[in-house]
Assembly symmetry: C2
DNA sequence: GTATGAATAGTCAGATCTGACTATTTTAAC
DNA sequence: GTTAAAATAGTCAGATCTGACTATTCATAC
């Protein structure tokens, strides 16, 4: 429901057509969602079926008709309850790259260290990029703070793992 | 490719049929993947098409024929390169529940604190549960360590956020 | 004026994923 | 020995998602 929540929340502020929605999401919210354009159109149609949004053609002037979506009262109710249930919930994400650790013993020790070092530098770059972003508006700043906090925690973890590998190696020699 | 990697990696150790694979994943690897049974069967068939695995019917005795999957040389090559590329990569997960923060201003201040407190207690429970799990084998222990490290970081972050809200409230009064 | 590229708005076939189901065999209880 | 429950093995229709595409309009440069 996160994607639906996002769309509903944006439509609450202002009625819009799909393209405008995706434009906003792409340029401002890429940290918190991977919603793609065709999915957005698909979800808008689905939500129209549920009666969460209504759509009317806006054939302004010469341009071909645009489908402008607007949130309904039902949509607002859904938004409010979903918003609350998501704030209180906690669902750990899957670290899909972690699958490798299951097969840790397949990788020679030197490779492990080298590859982890690369991972570490990617994280460091991400941190630098995030720190460059100027203060955002309202809640989006919380989102950025969270991401940054998370990245720093990941950095620390990888550093510890590398250190552990290095000290193990020293012990062996 | 994480799901394919997982299946290939397990088939490397031992040829198996889909049910056995899923049994192992469900009972040991639920932390790192959300692979479900029908998806596993789908992926096995796909990988058979790619020549990464081969399948032969095992009609042992009375039971209806089982499809036993086995990794091929090509599959092993794919596994090795995918394993390495995943170890060096870092892709931050999407905290889908964070979508709420975009609409932070919609929620009354008291609700915010209450709901975050619930979130916090869920995290604390998860931590307790993870700490109960006895030492695992090999790489899987790294996976558990990572998850625990992450959860503690999340706990800290939520605590900080709650604290910030509380001090803001005091200032206002 | 017109060719070219960017912006605008959306669609579609095909890939991926899953809830709910089928079907058989084994185990256990009586 | 028969019935019920659990274990075993898999399937399928339908939901969800996306890469690649279409189609129109606007800007600009020549």
């Amino acid at each position: 429901m996160e994607k639906e929540l996002l769309l509903l929340g944006l439509l609450r502020k202002q009625k819009m057509h799909g393209y405008r929605l995706m434009e906003f999401i792409d340029s401002n919210l890429h940290i918190c969602t991977d919603l793609k354009k065709p999915t957005a159109y698909y979800l808008l149609e689905k939500m129209e079926g549920f009666g969460w949004v209504i759509q009317h053609e806006d054939s302004n002037g010469k341009r071909p008709a645009k489908k402008v979506y607007e949130i309904t009262d039902l949509g607002e109710t859904i938004f409010q309850s979903t918003l609350r249930s998501h704030l209180e919930k906690f669902e750990p994400p899957f670290f899909s790259n972690d699958t490798v650790y299951i097969f840790w013993d397949t990788i020679p020790e030197l490779d492990r260290i080298n590859l982890l070092q690369k991972k570490k530098s990617i994280i460091e770059n991400e941190i630098k990029n995030l720190e460059k972003i100027p203060e955002h508006f309202g809640g989006t700043q919380i989102l950025l703070d969270h991401q940054l906090f998370f990245l720093k925690s990941e950095q620390e973890w990888v550093e510890k793992l590398i250190l552990k590998l290095l000290t193990n190696k020293v012990k062996q020699t």
